[in-house]
Amino acid sequence: MSVTDAATAPPPSSSPGSPLLLAAGMGKSYQGIAALTDVTVSVDAGELVALIGPNGAGKSTLFDCMSGVQTPDQGRVEFDGHDLHGMAPYRRARLGLARTFQRIELFPGLTVRDHLLVADRAQRHRGAMLRDLTLRSRPTAAEIERCDTVLDLLGLMPDAERPAEALSLGRGRVVELARALICQPRLLFLDEPSSGLDSDETDEMADVLETVQHDQDIAIVLCEHDVALVERLASRTYVLDTGRLIAEGPTAEVMASPRVRAAYLGA
């Protein structure tokens, strides 16, 4: 499975060397309380960047502003040369932005395979009702193959026919990841993917992330509390504290920064 499907993805309009994603000067406040203040983040194609910070630092708010779930008060978001200002989340998704959620968001009643089929179809089928009425809505061999590829990759095949509500939290997070991957994103936002997982599950999740990043050249923004996971995966790290960016740079250097250790690691 390639990262960008030339038939469906819009042509990149950014100039060579410019970041895939640029969120510049982001600001957001709730009833006078600043959740984000002048935060700038950039991600290059194929890069895995971490976003860390204590609870309430504004990480999820930044994620929501970048993926369009919330509208920032200030700042702009550009993705592959497209200005995302005012763009609905579903249109951002069609551009190649996928995400998972801190509080797991599955579709109850749908099987794991249905999750993937729905996500896959959402990428390419407009005029779905006309296809339904002409009895052309059964999964095609190509769709099933694409689903099976992702199910295999994430080890979800044994659960393929199980309903989402029957899964454990850990399996649910993997299904969220699979659902995002089948959208063939160019950038993947992962909001605390190890939350609620034990150490073995976290290791397995890290393996998968390394695989998809390397094999499929997907850029990933990882919002995470698990420092070991961040150190293992992320080449660069941004640190947020009380809505402000307090550090950024190569992960090892950021983790060694006294200011970061004081604000976040408590040392």
Binding site: R91, L106, P108, H115, D132, S137, L154, R162, E165, E176
Partner: protein
């Protein structure tokens, strides 16, 4: 200066009606704040108390204070206690949708119970809650320039007292705080050591007494007690509730007052015979409600508060159809086919014209009801205006057919007209969250009824436009039996189309949206567009059904077939039977006509027996004389309404729930193994892994 004086005079005249709106709006807001239920049955409760007051005061000549006390306090408290004990306490943690459906069911059932108990004869000139002989004996100020009568003064005083009392309760008392907390999470409140049931019961008592007070106060506005008038007034008051965001009692009060004044100003300043005056004035509250819902941006992102303890609920059982063994699924299809064939055979060769006529009307209605399957079952939107779409279809069919067009072509074109109306309405309202979208459809239905239906060019005015029966390729469908076959063919086509949409990509997208709208957006699905697509398709199906109904009745008769109240009853019926099932729409359609007729036969039988056996005496005579054939329609509506109460327990519908039970029994009896479908009360097998840790074998 003269205009200013007139303005003030009209404003004063609008205050009493404004107080009526305000009282209802405050009551409804209180009800919502303290129970989480947008209680459309508030109107039914108000009607019930007004009826009790009428009987005590006017028929039994009770003392005013005693009658008022019994009707408002005793009856109000008793009604709350009964409803809470039997219904609401079992729905504390139910979804907002389930609570709305329950209130719709009660709205349909309660007035019929009242009418059965206190007799259905007309209740003319309801008495005022003011100790004067005539309603207009009390003028204020004494100059007589600004006229307020006794009932209006009573309403004004009562509204002011209620608003002040409620503000004090919610600002000062701990009970008010507890009442708001119990809406958020009754289980968390229990963990804090508070008896959530007691708090909730007090909330219902307070709301019920307020509904009773409102009912008794506003009854003199009408020449005759009629539950639909109460409901129409309540919907008007909802505009004021929405101005108050459904939560602010002072804003609801001011909104209601403003609405009354605006209406009086329009009545005063608009020319009496203009289209604006005859159309806009009666529909003003609905227009305001619609516009507020349409324009208020903050409503778009509003979501119902989620219970923090909601996770303790077990997952819903898997649909019976999904877990049936293959052999049983085939068996079910064969059984369904046999039932349809036998039913059609009976209609063709056994039943008389009366029953064939009812079944045909039911099949035509079933097509309209399929629109609810699409809009609500597949799209997840509670639409309370499907009868209006059907009416659009009927009127358009009548227009096209009267121009000489083939009836069946006219019906198809009428469906497209209804779809266009659905598109315009849906585009305006479908971004709203659940309850608000439902209210907007209700406002549309009432606007349609108040503004468009009376127009001659739409409905033919007082004489409905005639519609002929179809003539297709030389085959005349003039007889009921041939028309039944045509209706069945249309139903089959529409039913298959609905199934194709439900089980196809559109249905899957909407399943995803219902599961998590946020996640659906994150994978590229546009929820508003998907909902709009099925809403428009639903409007088209309703329009088609409406055209067929008109052709069958040979006239597009709004009052007989399409009033807004029918929308409510139909939604209740379909949702009770199973919102996602085509067979539920079919059964509901046929039941709507056949069941009251069966009850009529049942209740007529004792009278007929006595007539043919005049010698019957004693206890048997007394017993048989007790039954009254006029009960049939009322009892049918009571059962339809109470059916909706099952929704909270079986949101999948009673057909699905019973199907699961029967499937389990058959599988045990004949399958030699346990059905994968869970028995009621048990968690569904294979929906939770036996060992959560063991299941985490992910990721190679």
């Amino acid at each position: 200066m003269n205009n200013l004086s007139s303005f003030a005079q009209y404003a004063v005249q609008g205050i009493p009606l404004g107080c009526v709106f305000a009282l209802l709006a405050v009551g409804l807001t209180l009800n919502y704040k303290t129970s989480g239920v947008f209680n459309l049955a508030f109107a039914a409760q108000a009607f019930a108390s007004a009826a009790v007051f009428y009987v005590l005061r006017k028929e039994h000549r009770w003392n005013l204070l005693l009658a008022a006390f019994v009707a408002v306090v005793v009856f109000g408290v008793a009604m709350a206690w009964i409803l809470d004990t039997l219904i609401y306490r079992h729905q504390r943690t139910a979804s907002p949708l389930a609570k709305l459906v329950t209130s719709l069911g009660l709205l349909v059932a309660l007035p019929q119970i009242v009418l059965l108990v206190i007799s259905t004869k007309s209740k003319l000139n309801p008495p005022p809650l003011w100790p004067v002989k005539r309603a207009d004996d009390f003028l204020w100020p004494s100059s007589g320039k600004y006229v307020l009568d006794a009932s209006q003064i009573a309403t004004l005083v009562a509204t002011a007292l209620v608003v002040i009392g409620l503000i004090v309760l919610f600002r000062r008392g701990s009970l008010g705080l507890q009442m708001r907390a119990v809406v958020e999470s009754p289980r968390l409140l229990q963990l804090q050591g508070v008896d959530a049931d007691r708090v909730s019961r007090w909330a219902w008592i307070l709301s019920s007494v307020l509904a009773s007070l409102a009912g008794v106060l506003i009854a003199p506005l009408f020449a005759q007690l009629n539950s639909l008038d109460f409901f129409t007034l309540l919907v008007a008051a909802i505009a004021a509730c929405v101005i108050g965001n459904l939560t602010s009692i002072p804003l609801a009060f001011l909104g209601g007052l403003g609405l009354g004044i605006l209406q009086a100003e329009l009545a005063g300043f608009l020319p009496t015979n203009s289209v604006l005056s005859t159309g806009l004035r009666p529909s003003l509250p609905f227009v305001v409600l619609f516009m507020v819902l349409f324009m208020r941006r903050s409503l778009r992102t509003r979501t119902a508060p989620a219970d923090p303890m909601g996770g303790v609920d077990p997952p819903p059982p898997a649909p019976a159809a999904d877990t049936r063994p293959q052999w049983m699924a085939h068996g079910t299809h064969v059984f369904g086919g046999v039932v349809i064939a036998v039913g059609l055979g009976l209609c063709m060769w056994v039943l008389d014209d009366y029953w064939v006529g009812l079944v045909t009307a039911g099949v035509c209605l079933a097509i309209v009801l399929l629109s609810i399957t699409l809009t609500t079952g597949v799209g997840g939107t509670i639409s309370l205006c499907q009868a209006s779409f059907a009416a659009v279809g009927a009127f358009a069919t009548a227009k096209f057919a009267s121009g000489g067009m083939s009836v069946i072509v006219a019906i198809v074109l009428a469906a497209l007209v209804a779809a266009l109306v659905g598109l315009l309405l849906g585009a305006a309202i479908l971004h709203l969250p659940g309850i608000y979208a439902a209210l907007a459809t209700l406002a549309f239905a009432l606007m349609f009824q108040a503004v468009l239906v009376p127009l001659d060019w739409v409905s033919g005015g007082s004489v409905p436009i005639t519609v002929p029966r179809p003539l297709i390729g030389g085959i005349d469908f003039a007889s009921d039996r041939s028309f039944l076959l045509l209706a069945c063919a249309c139903l089959a086509v529409m039913g298959l189309a609905v199934i194709a949409i439900r089980d196809g990509t559109t249905g899957r997208f909407l399943d995803a949206v219902r599961g998590s709208s946020t996640a659906a957006r994150s994978i590229g699905i546009n929820p508003d567009r998907q909902r709009l697509v099925v809403f428009v398709a639903g409007a088209a199906v309703a329009g088609f059904g409406g055209g067929l109904v008109a052709s069958y009745a040979e006239a597009a008769n709004y009052d007989q077939s399409f009033t807004f109240f029918f929308s409510l009853v139909w939604v209740v019926l379909v949702i009770t039977a199973g919102a996602r099932l085509v067979q539920a729409a079919i059964i509901s359609g046929v039941t709507f006509f056949v069941f009251p007729a069966l009850l009529d036969k049942l209740f007529s039988w004792p009278g007929n027996y006595l007539a043919s056996n005049p010698s019957t005496t004693g206890a048997l005579n007394s017993f048989l004389s007790f039954f009254n054939p006029t009960w049939a329609q009322g009892v049918a509506f009571i059962l339809f309404g109470f059916g909706a109460l099952t929704y909270a327990k079986h949101p999948e519908g009673i057909i699905e729930a019973q199907g699961a039970v029967v499937s389990a029994r058959i599988a045990r009896r004949f399958g030699g193994r346990r059905s994968p479908t869970a028995a009621p009360g048990e968690p569904p097998p294979d929906t939770r892994p036996p060992d959560v840790a063991a299941s985490i074998d992910v990721v190679a």
